[in-house]
């Protein structure tokens, strides 16, 4: 079963580029609605992976146009989805804080998401995946997938 588990890391990286870019733009323009938009895309993409907007842009525009080459490797999709859900939750909390007038907390959370997405994009370290595998090792229900031995 595990042999069939594949993840296109180019789709994940494209997703991160959009998240970083749009949240940075939201900060510069002081536009909480853009934060809400990013949070919505991330949360929807976590619940319905096929509806993930930034990944769809990769699949239907960037990849067919040859702008981004696929990088499909043996991996579990669940930790990446969990990481996106975690990022989406922080981004949603950021929006709520901004709406409540707590701009320091709001933009602080947005920057946290930017930094964590940046760590994954540039250094290949996925914080959310680390949390997922830690919860798996602790036997927390729902976190059923162990790290795959690379083939």
């Amino acid at each position: 079963m595990s042999a069939e588990r594949k993840v296109d890391h180019s789709a994940i990286r494209t997703n991160q580029v959009f998240i970083i870019g749009l949240l940075a733009l939201a900060f510069v323009l002081n536009q909480p609605l853009l934060v809400a938009f990013v949070a919505a895309v991330m949360i929807v993409g976590t619940i319905w992976p096929d509806a993930a907007l930034f990944k769809r842009i990769y699949r239907h525009v960037l990849r067919p146009a040859g702008l981004v080459r696929p990088d499909v490797i043996r991996d579990n999709p669940e930790p990446h989805r969990f990481a996106q859900g975690l990022g989406g939750t922080f981004t949603a909390l950021s929006f709520v804080a901004l709406l409540a007038g707590a701009s320091l907390i709001g933009w602080g959370l947005a920057w946290l998401v930017i930094v964590l997405a940046g760590l994954n994009l540039f250094l290949g370290w996925c914080a959310g995946c680390t949390v997922y595998y830690l919860l798996n090792r602790l036997g927390v229900p729902g976190f059923d997938h162990r790290r795959l031995e690379a083939g």
């Binding site: 940075a24 900060f27 510069v28 490797i73 250094l123 290949g124 370290w125 795959l148 690379a150 083939g151």
Partner: protein, 153 residues
């Protein structure tokens, strides 16, 4: 305008924090390089790549390892590669301050670290770094001769 300035300052601070962290890590490794067990069997005067990996690291197997293999094929005895399984040797990972894999360190012929790459480092990047630590003289002919060939892959 204020927010663009603030954004630039935050990005600059993050980049600075990264650079400082990287330097601190290299200094820390340099301090204990002379006695580190990983480097005890190295040939002197040959640049070294210390490559931290783990069996669960997919990019290590699909991208980093093939890149190192190409490099080894090209440079032959002009480079030595030390592969470390960070799960089997967590002490080494701790000594070298490795938090994620793949991580590669570039050492000069005296075993002093000069560069550290977090995440996958491609063949060309590794060649440039090796050329730098060997002062552009240790196998420069081979690096340049094969550089264009590898670039076509």
């Amino acid at each position: 305008m204020d927010r663009i300035l603030l954004f630039s300052i935050i990005v600059l601070l993050l980049v600075m924090a990264f650079v400082i962290l990287r330097r601190w890590q290299l200094r820390r490794v340099a301090r204990q390089a002379a006695t580190d067990p990983l480097l005890s069997d190295l040939h002197p005067d040959v640049p070294t790549i210390v490559y931290f990996t783990s069996p669960y690291c997919a990019p290590c197997q699909t991208r980093q390892k093939p890149a190192l293999r190409v490099l080894q094929d090209d440079l032959g005895e002009g480079v030595q590669i030390v592969e470390v399984n960070a799960l089997e040797d967590p002490d080494a990972a701790r000594r070298w301050g490795v938090l994620s894999v793949p991580t590669t360190f570039i050492l000069d012929g005296r075993g002093m670290p000069h560069e550290v790459n977090y995440g996958v480092a491609g063949v060309e990047k590794l060649k440039r770094q090796l050329q730098k630590v060997s002062g552009g003289k240790h196998p420069p002919g081979r690096i340049l001769a094969h550089g264009s060939h590898i670039g076509t892959h």
